[in-house]
């Protein structure tokens, strides 16, 4: 059995995967603005993932994107 501490440690090793669905993104800037670690930037009219390593899996982007365009998975 692994301890909760170990499990936490194991989880931390799994990197969150942030994806922007370009077909859905309307370029509102919301994810760019509200990501606490500046993972996104705008490229033309769509958001793109610029710093995937910085993601702390806070889920703000997924929660706030009005267009179902951002997903964060592990």
């Amino acid at each position: 059995m692994i301890s909760s501490f170990e499990r936490h440690g194991a989880m931390e090793k799994k990197k969150p995967v942030v994806l922007v669905n370009e077909r859905y993104c309307k370029g509102c800037h919301i994810c760019v603005e509200f990501c606490p670690t500046s993972v996104f930037e705008m490229r033309g009219f769509t958001a793109v993932v610029k710093n995937p390593e910085a993601c702390i899996a806070c889920m703000q982007c997924e929660l706030r994107c009005p267009d179902f365009a951002v997903t964060v998975s592990q």
Partner: protein, 271 residues
């Protein structure tokens, strides 16, 4: 780890019609999470709306959905609930839909206390028709039909609902996205007419004409004006000026209309 909206969104219906940064999409996500958390079955849940940008919501979600006429969503929903009380009935729409043209249906549904959850996406404007003022547009604000500033005083939807007899009234904002599902879930669990007003943003027709330069400014405005009820209770009237109180504002248990009517039917049938 994220929420799987795909379980509830109808295949092939995205992207939706709403403008970049329109708060309606954020609210729709909250509604989906709320339905998921209360466990309403898709087959036994009906989502009804009137007309407007907000009222386009039902087309995207996989339930028994009804997009009706302007302002009449609550009245159609009343027919569904009365004819099939075992269905979960949710009505959604905008501020214009709900408290201008639909105001009469709204207050009477409150009065009856019929078990319908009514989600009002209040963006303070008639978005769909290009930004005419609505009954919730602040006095002085610019709209396409108030070029010199709005001469009308606005409604407070929550007060209107409480005054008319709704037994659950809550308010949230599109900025406080994580709270939307909590408020809606509690509203859905409540037996009676529940009203959830979400202060929303229409960057295209409201923000543009008023002082909000961007989608983000509108979102930040929602963040700034909202004061949770618990905090508001400790604030003075002066401190609360220009603020909007959020959270569950009113809750009361009272006989619910559709089930009371069923009791009447049983009484009559028993002779």
């Amino acid at each position: 780890m994220g929420f799987d909206y795909g379980k509830y969104i109808r295949p092939g219906k995205l992207p939706h019609i709403w403008c970049p940064g329109c708060g309606h999409g954020i609210v729709m996500k909250g509604l989906i999470r709320a339905i998921d958390s209360v466990g309403f079955s898709k087959d036994m849940t009906s989502i009804v709306s009137g007309i407007g940008c907000a009222s386009r919501l039902p087309g995207y979600v996989d339930f028994c959905t009804l997009h009706t006429t302007h302002g009449r969503g609550v009245a159609f929903a009343t027919g569904i609930k009365m004819a099939k009380p075992e269905m979960n009935v949710i009505c959604v729409g905008g501020d214009g839909d709900g408290v201008a043209i639909g105001g009469n249906h709204f207050i009477h549904a409150c009065r009856r206390n019929i078990d319908i959850t009514y989600l009002i996406m209040n963006n303070n404007i008639y978005g769909m028709t290009g930004g005419q003022f609505s009954p919730t547009t602040p006095t002085g604000a610019k709209a396409s039909t108030t070029p010199y500033g709005n001469p009308d005083p606005p409604f407070d939807i929550a007060k209107l609902a409480i005054g008319a007899g709704a037994t659950f009234v809550a308010r949230g904002t599109a900025f406080h996205a994580a709270q939307i599902d909590k408020l809606l879930a509690e509203a859905m669990r409540h037996k009676g007419f529940s009203v959830v007003e979400i202060l929303d943003s229409c960057p295209t027709t409201y923000g543009r004409r008023n002082k909000y330069k961007s989608v983000i400014e509108m979102m930040n405005h929602l963040k700034d004006v909202a004061v949770p009820l618990s905090a508001a209770e400790k604030m003075t009237a002066e401190q609360l000026r220009g603020k909007v109180i959020t959270g569950v504002l009113y809750k009361e248990n009272k006989p619910e209309y559709a089930s009371e009517y069923r009791k009447l039917v049983e009484r009559v049938q028993a002779g």
